[in-house]
């Protein structure tokens, strides 16, 4: 586990750090922000409540998330040749306290992507359910990013949102 990541205790700083690691392609460090049991979810329908009852653009549990990250290192990840450049804007952040040590951060998230001459933009509402790790730092239990156009046709999403 990355020591720096596990000690970020402020939820807003944590979310901005998460965005920054993705923009800088520091994927191993990014993976260390996640709890041992976790999920990364981009639903295909607005308000979708369970990832097991309906199709999603992306639904990863911890095992699949590790596989997703590992694939970026492979020479034949065709959809990332050339690799994307991204920039993220997380705004309107607010914390929702939850019982026990857990808390959630809600934000408006935009991920702008440039690859192979094309600009794409992913815009939506993101919710982070966070845990307090051993050192007092935060860990991601769940990240759910609902695109405002999630039920419209999407092109292949080869980056991590």
């Amino acid at each position: 586990m990355d020591a720096a990541a596990a000690t970020i205790a402020d939820p807003f700083a944590f979310v901005l750090h998460e965005c920054d690691l993705l923009d800088r392609w520091r994927l191993q460090e990014w993976l260390s922000l996640w709890a041992e049991e976790c999920s990364y979810w981009v639903p295909a329908l607005p308000g979708q409540e369970s990832p097991h009852d309906a199709l999603s653009h992306i639904y990863d549990d911890r095992r699949l998330l590790e596989t997703r990250v590992r694939r970026f290192a492979h020479a034949m990840f065709h959809a990332q040749k050339p690799p994307s450049r991204t920039v993220r804007f997380a705004t309107n952040l607010r914390v929702v306290e939850q019982p026990g040590a857990a808390l959630s951060v809600l934000c408006s998230l935009q991920v702008a992507e440039f690859r192979n001459g094309l600009h794409r933009s992913y815009l939506g509402h993101c919710r982070y359910d966070l845990l307090r790790g051993g050192a007092g730092g935060l860990l991601i239990r769940r990240k759910r990013f609902e695109l405002i156009d999630c039920d419209a046709p999407q092109e292949g999403i080869s980056i991590i949102l």
């Binding site: 295909a44 549990d61 590790e66």
Partner: protein
């Protein structure tokens, strides 16, 4: 707009814009057996459209995805990154079930050449085709045979149709069926895609999956996870297919060559006792030649 003809087969409704032409069953021909496969597997003998839908688009012609769906040569190359990443994944890491289904499927895509070569691929009139299933990992299909969920499912199926018929139904081993020019489905996995051309270089796919009423709910959850890996917009597998279609499209738009070769297996395809033409090996491009034969027939108005 009034649609001149509608008809259904096993509950799947089709519309035709042509007032005259072959009946639905004549048009589907041997592809009806794939619909049978999909519906017969349900312990209640019916399927329920469930799980919502997802849509994806690619910047390429609609023919590219149809040529791909029965192509057995590409997985080891196009999907090399997800095969390798999945193989290296530790199964000790937590999963809620969804990741396990997807990772099994990715590993299966790396099946050795011999598995693909030995598969059956069959074509019929009007551009249709289907291929045998390549899942040597039986657990990837429907959980291990001794899994309680699988045992419960078999019991429910046999209760309706009897042990002998249940065994017959479960022995059908089929992967993608392409009903040319706008439908593709996986009968064994309850996945269905409608292909919608938006422009000469832009195509949309609408993905559906189904619940088998009377089967354990876990099987529906596995179908959802399977849909996400084979059709999910952010799938570790599909993204490389979409990238490939787009590269092929750019190649076709270039002045690089006048002809595209689709001759793999040409001359060795042979009529099957069923009346279909079967590729000599599983990697024959017999399905692509068959699609273009149907296309030429329509475009020239030949009977």
């Amino acid at each position: 707009m009034r649609v001149p003809r509608v008809a259904q087969y096993r509950g799947f409704w089709f519309a035709s814009l042509a007032a005259e032409g072959p009946s639905l069953e004549e048009f589907l021909g041997p592809m009806t057996t794939s619909f049978d496969d999909m519906v017969d597997r349900s312990p209640s003998g019916t399927l329920e459209v469930a799980g919502g839908f997802s849509k994806h688009v690619y910047r390429g012609n609609w023919k590219l995805v149809l040529e791909n769906h029965n192509d057995t040569l590409h997985p080891r190359f196009v999907h090399a990154s997800s095969v390798a990443a999945a193989r290296e994944q530790s199964d000790a890491v937590p999963t809620d079930g969804a990741g396990a289904v997807q990772i099994r499927q990715m590993r299966q895509n790396g099946a050795p050449a011999q598995v693909w070569e030995e598969l059956g691929i069959w074509t019929s009139e009007w551009g249709h085709s289907f291929m045998g299933d390549y899942h040597t990992d039986k657990a990837a299909v429907a959980l291990a045979e001794d899994d309680p969920v699988q045992v419960e499912y078999r019991r429910a199926l046999a209760a309706r149709v009897g042990e002998a018929r249940a065994a017959e139904i479960l022995a059908v081993s089929r992967f993608n069926t392409v009903v040319y020019p706008n439908l593709s489905f996986m009968s064994r996995f309850r996945q269905l895609r409608i292909i919608v051309p938006l422009a000469v270089d832009r195509t949309m796919l609408v993905t559906h999956t189904f619940r088998m009423p009377g089967a354990p709910e876990r099987m529906f959850h596995d179908s959802i996870a399977f849909a996400n890996v084979v059709n999910g917009t952010g799938s570790l597998v599909l993204t490389d297919d979409l990238e490939t279609y787009e590269r092929v499209q750019r190649g076709l738009e270039s002045q690089g060559g006048e002809w595209v070769d689709a001759a793999r297996g040409l001359g060795a395809d042979a009529p099957d006792p069923s009346g279909m033409l079967r590729g000599a090996t599983g990697t024959s491009e017999v399905h692509i030649r068959n699609q273009f034969a149907a296309w030429a027939r329509w475009m020239t108005g030949a009977a």
